[in-house]
Amino acid sequence: MLTMLVCCAAAVSEAPAPVTSAVGSSVALEPYGLATRPWVTEVEAPPPFWTRFDSRFAWPVDVMVGVLYGIIFMICVYTVRHYWFTFNRLFGRQRNPYIAVDETDWPEVTVLIPCHNEEAVISTILDALLRVDYPASRLRITPVNDRSTDATREIIDHYAVRFPTQILPFHRSDGPPGKAAALKDAFTLVESDLALIFDADYVPGRDLIKRLVAPLLDPEVGAVMGRVVPLNTPRNLLTRLLDMERAGGYQVDQQARMNLDLIPQYGGTVGGVRLSALNSVGGWRPSSLTEDTDLTCRLVAGGWKVAYSNRYECYEEVPETWPVRIRQIKRWARGHTDAALRYVPLLLISRHLRWRERLDGTLLMGIYLMSPLLIIGWLIAIALFYLGEHALHGLVAILAVASYNTLGNFAAFFEIAAAVRLDGHRHRIRLLPLVLVGFLVSLFSTGRAAVSQLRPRKRRRDIVWHKTERFRENGLEAWRNGQIEETTNERDDESTNRGADERMSTSAPFSPRQSTA
């Protein structure tokens, strides 16, 4: 892209593009037999503009060149990193150490579902969790309702009445807002050492609870993360692009970090934590915008591992409109940048991490900072060109072109392409050029968000619950219709659902837990 900009600029400018020959003299361009402009003769390249004034003004250009070289170097580092991950996924040894654990004395686990106005989706996830293959006596489901103003509470309470021994709601009416704050309050009431967390729009499969619990049997594992797969992929261009992007991030990036014994990231949903690990690193931090990234850093710095596997899959809803997508990615960028500022020093000095884990953790935390750097690099390169400074030549030019061709830290095309192929898709790989659209939107959104997080703030902004807008249609309507149906069925016949019989207890009173915070 940079090369193209240079060529186009040269083509449209009135002066011939200065080309410095081996002996240092300049000649006019004479491309492929086209007649040269007759008024052009041997013209020396114009001197850098500052030399017309004072040599003391040379230093800003030197600084710009140095910054540009530094940016190119960083982009090359990320390029190498992402190519390394992709080659590992394609050709390296894969690690799924816990995938074969299908029999054990399954421990007690609590599944938490943070909710805030989730009437469209909450019934679906509750139905799915009630169908999972896990000992019913060892599974507790706790919807964490944080001041919902829609029918979320009504729906949760209805399920709690039907399954009082399995669904124990937590209704929160006060305390600091936000998902992390809600989880922090809810965790005080969790009795098991293992807790899994799902966002309300997820649809777990029958085996997912066992799969997520298996790594937590390992005493070194503090958190576990599974793969999120978009369910609303066919919706529109954005959802199709996000499906590919998610594939790149999980199928290649996360799994490669697990394979290479680096730092897979705990993502806050389709995952779980060990409470003793969580408490040993200070618990949830409600002021964090991305509590998952925050927790990942503290866990690994404290000597815990995060386990990841592509096989622990769950459906999710991705944003269907660009404004929602931009809000989501800006939040991620701010949260990541905030975590980078707080925890990169901690990662670098942690004695529990090897050098390659420290490096990978640093690169992981700094990934959203590459967006503004990418833009700055472009601007500097163009500015240097018009200032007459030929900063890109030789090896540096090659590196610049190579690194910018992979679009910097995103390494969008290579990772995504490999992920799509690993998933067994064929035709959707043709959408790869359109990923450029998503990349450009993300680039400017995250760049702005990352820079805003770097600026010192005079006052702390209030934390609000940042949730992604739900697009599932008629979720509440479908639940209401189902409610009428099940009431009719229960009146007409005895319960024929063996699972429901096991879970229902007519003697246990319904007592939803209320927040006392």
């Binding site: 150490p97 299908d102 005493p219 978009p230």
Partner: protein, 349 residues
């Protein structure tokens, strides 16, 4: 001068150059727009179906298919196996599963080839050197020597696998399964899984009062539920350690040593004769369980798992899993639950 022929020619060529460049840049977008419009590959990644393939032991899809074809007269309904006209190598492929309702006292002849599933309503005893796509037994199953099962095997009662049999895919029994020497396998499951015909050695009871507690320094820096050891760790004979251990190097339990808790080592784990772990065992490298050792929880080796004669994994009523990339099991091993070799498993001599 501006309107000279040369100037006009140059502008024309510039336009051509820009057009070609634009076309070149837009070229990759044409297939993208076609796919966007045709939506040939727009469905979500299918993830819901792996539960039955990978978690369950009974072949749920086969059972469901049988239930669907019951009472129907179509090409997929199981066809009764004609004992007088058994399929041999070279016979044309069958289109429906084979149904065995009466087997007789003698085993099936040797060298048979079944290219569809075999549904055995009665006890089944196969002859040597036969090959099966899959076997579902509602009664006892006894595979002769040198058999091969390509996809899966499941017995609702007991299963006996004779020497030299190759089991690909999953092999499971609801009650007991015996796997003789020389067999290779991928995934085995039974409430009581015995390897070899030698009886499992009795566990040597060693009460906790005869063991000497071993105090270890926690290098984690913060008190939590585990002990972090950043060196090779050897637990001397007759000593016991209580607590969950994370060892960044290797772990070695000497004779009759014991750990009460879960264990994870970045390098190898070796349990010598009579050692015992009352918890789960994880290693990023190899795990070798010596003779008469016992692990009550899961055993996971990311590389090689070796189970020596007389060792036991899990307990009756408390199933467990032993897995590794390569699994070598000696005769006399007893596992309650699953043994899963991700690359290759074999029962050694």
């Amino acid at each position: 001068m501006i309107f000279s022929h040369a100037a006009y020619h140059n502008q024309e060529m510039l336009l051509v150059l820009l057009s070609i460049t634009a076309l070149w840049l837009l070229l990759p977008f044409f297939p993208a727009f076609i796919e966007l419009r045709s939506r040939r590959d727009a469905e979500p990644l299918p993830i819901a179906d792996r539960y039955e393939e990978e978690m369950q032991h009974a072949p749920a899809q086969f059972i469901a298919a049988l239930a669907m074809t019951a009472g129907q007269d179509n090409a997929t309904r199981p066809v009764p196996l004609d004992l007088a006209n058994l399929p041999r190598p070279g016979d044309p492929s069958a289109k429906a599963p084979y149904l065995l309702e009466e087997s007789g006292a003698e085993p099936l002849p040797a060298g048979l080839l079944f290219t569809k599933e075999v549904l055995a309503k009665t006890a089944l005893h196969t002859g040597p050197n036969s090959a099966f796509e899959a076997i579902y037994g509602e009664n006892d199953l006894h595979l002769g020597e040198g058999n091969t099962v390509a996809l899966w095997l499941h017995g609702e009662a007991n299963v006996w696998i004779s020497a030299g049999t190759h089991l690909h895919g999953s092999a499971s029994a609801l009650q007991e399964m015996v796997v003789e020497k020389g067999c290779t396998f991928e995934r085995l499951h039974a409430a009581n899984l015995l390897f070899g015909v030698e009886p499992a050695l009795k566990e040597r009871p060693l009460g906790p009062e005869t063991l000497i507690p071993l105090a270890l320094e926690n290098e984690a820096g913060v008190p939590d539920h585990r002990l972090l050891i950043c060196r090779d760790l050897t637990i001397p004979a007759g000593h016991v350690v209580e607590g969950n251990l994370v060892i960044t190097e290797s772990l070695h339990l000497e004779r009759d040593a014991r750990i009460i808790g879960d264990v994870k080592a970045h390098r190898s784990i070796v349990l010598e004769e009579g050692a015992r772990v009352e918890g789960h065992v994880f290693s990023e490298k190899d795990v070798r369980l010596g003779a008469e050792t016992q692990v009550t929880g899961v055993v996971v080796a990311e590389r090689r798992l070796t189970l020596s004669r007389g060792c036991r994994v899990g307990a009756l009523g408390r199933a467990s899993t032993a897995c590794g990339r390569y699994v070598d099991v000696a005769a006399g091993v007893q596992v309650h639950g699953t043994v899963w070799a991700l690359e290759r498993g074999r029962v050694t001599q």
